[in-house]
């Protein structure tokens, strides 16, 4: 009797220690994700901020920088309060299909010694926080130069809680899309499609800028834009290669395919302009780079180099045409082209991941289908389900939130204020005193 009890105790202890070793922190993984976290934050401030700031008119340069900076701060606190737990729930709790459990509000169960996989739970929480920061910041491009600052803050807070966090749960937090086998390594659906659809809905609901289509609205400082673009490229290494949440072959492959796709995308867009307009432009080249990066994002854990080049080239060409079509044919003032670049890119990349993950494509082969899926058709169905559900859910909720915020505080500054510029009207300061 005694022996059997001590045997049982021994077994129990061994089980506990086995469990503990599975939850051990890996130094290399931790170091890389610490670095990635800094890189992804760097994408928003100052990368995306400068990229956007250069594209607006000089009277609105601060308003855009301000929106990105304030969102960085506000989304961090919202993520801390409720965003994280809706997306990822808490450790040891069975996760639901739609949202995470609320056990980690205010990071309640995350301490210095908590572990998530092979890295500290605190690190996973802040790494994911940087994704939650850049996603609403991307939306800024859709309503730039005309939205009220207060409305923007309120909208973004609600959007984080009701759109980003739930979709993040669906794909990465143990929700239904992840369970279905959706391959979205770094956020084609979670980040790019959600942000771009929200930007498009916002652009449509808020309406075009005064004089859109008749008054010239050229970017006021492409030097800032190109500097920001370079920072985005570098930061994207943290975004995609960090999404391996490990310092391993998958992370390195993600970095490689990310870089190749960015290069191919930039050259493809440049070539399109050269062919169709006679001259290659700097803005076109960096926009093609962003298209290449956004498109490879969901596929960066699924594909290998040859397919990455193909994906980048496709991104540069398709996003180029999408931008012209939305602006000149549909006359939609998605002011900084968020949807045609990030949305079209995100959709394209999520679908292409379903094709090029196949191991049967010769040099274009990837890392295989998700568990339980045995054909390109099967994987593509899952990818399409992810795209459509994210798109429809984001569009509907964004629409409702903008209606609500519009009724509460008003979405748009009045006409004269818009003409005067948001920097002076909303912030009492000027970007330049030359």
């Amino acid at each position: 009797m005694k022996t059997s009890i001590s045997l049982a105790l021994c077994t129990a202890l061994m089980l506990v220690s086995a469990g503990a070793s599975a939850q051990e922190i890996n130094g290399a993984d931790t170091a890389w994700i610490l670095t990635s976290t800094a890189l992804v934050l760097f994408m928003t401030i100052p990368g995306l901020s400068l990229f956007y700031a250069g594209l607006v008119r000089s009277k609105n340069v601060l308003s855009v920088l301000m929106q990105c900076f304030a969102l960085t701060c506000l989304m961090s606190l919202v993520w801390f309060a409720v965003g994280y737990t809706i997306a990822f729930g808490s450790d040891g709790v069975e996760q639901g299909m739609w949202i995470g459990d609320f056990g980690n509000m205010f990071f309640a169960n995350i301490g210095m010694d908590s572990v998530n996989g092979t890295i500290p739970a605190t690190l996973f929480a802040i790494f994911q926080m940087t994704f939650a920061i850049i996603t609403p910041a991307l939306i800024v491009g859709g309503f730039a130069e005309r939205m009220r600052f207060s409305a923007m803050l309120l909208f973004s807070t609600l959007w984080m809680v009701l759109v980003y966090a739930p979709v993040c749960h669906w794909v990465w937090g143990g929700g239904w899309l992840g369970a279905m086998g959706l391959q979205d390594f770094a956020g084609g659906t979670v980040v790019h499609i959600t942000a771009a659809v929200a930007a498009l809905v916002a652009a449509l609901m808020i309406g075009p800028r005064r004089g859109f289509g008749t008054v010239a609205m050229p970017p006021h400082n492409l030097t800032l834009t190109v500097a920001g673009a370079g920072m985005l490229w570098v930061g994207w290494f943290g975004f995609n290669a960090g999404s391996a949440v490990a310092a391993d072959g998958s992370a390195a492959m993600a970095m490689l395919v990310t870089h190749l796709s960015a290069s191919a995308g930039a050259l493809a867009w440049m070539a399109m302009e050269w062919l169709r307009h006679g001259k290659p432009s700097m803005l076109g080249t960096v926009t093609g780079m962003v298209a290449g990066l956004g498109t490879i994002t969901p596929a960066s854990g699924s594909v290998e180099p040859a397919a990455a080049v193909l994906i980048g080239l496709t991104a540069g060409v398709v996003c180029y045409f999408a931008t012209g079509y939305l602006k000149n044919k549909l006359r939609v003032d998605d002011s900084l082209d968020v949807f045609p670049v990030h949305g079209v890119g995100g959709i394209l990349g999520t679908l292409l991941a379903g094709i090029f993950c196949s191991t049967q494509l010769g040099i274009f082969s990837g890392n295989g289908f998700s568990d339980g899926i045995s054909s390109i058709g099967g994987q593509l169905m899952v990818q399409a389900t992810g795209v459509v559900s994210t798109l429809v859910y984001t569009a509907v909720v964004t629409f409702i939130l903008l209606k609500l915020v519009g009724a509460l505080v008003g979405l748009r500054v009045d006409g004269d204020e818009e003409t005067q510029g948001l920097d002076l009207v909303l912030h009492d300061e000027r970007g330049y005193d030359l």
Binding site: A216, M217, P219, H277, L283, G284, Y320, T323, G324, K327
Partner: protein
């Protein structure tokens, strides 16, 4: 005394200054301006959005010179600023009533 005002292509400024220097005219005032005549504007393209920029960048220079040097100055400017293409600019000559060198108080041709 005459005031010569010339509007020229910006990249021709150094050539014009050298040409004027060679005939002994070594003072002038220069400013960057925008405008258009027959040349009209150019188009700029930003991600598919095409804008016609009507005003062209130009350089305007002004020189105050004595009557006997006017023809030489005009010839020097015309020669140096000519590219043969539309948009080379114009020269305007106007009468100048008085000039005063601030430091010494000299007036007229002595002040030029």
């Amino acid at each position: 005394m005459k005031m010569i005002t010339a509007v020229i292509k910006p990249f021709k400024l150094d050539d014009v200054r050298d040409a004027l220097n060679q005939i002994g005219i070594s003072g002038m005032t220069v400013e960057e301006v925008k405008g258009y005549g027959r040349q009209k504007g150019h188009t700029e393209l930003y991600r598919g959005a095409e804008y016609v920029v009507e005003f062209q960048p130009k350089v305007r220079l002004q020189l105050a010179i004595s009557d006997d040097r006017v023809d030489a100055a005009i010839e020097a400017i015309c020669k140096a600023a000519n590219t043969g293409k539309i948009g080379d600019g114009k020269i305007f000559v106007s009468a100048l009533e008085q000039s005063i060198r601030i430091r010494t108080g000299e007036t007229g041709d002595d002040a030029l």
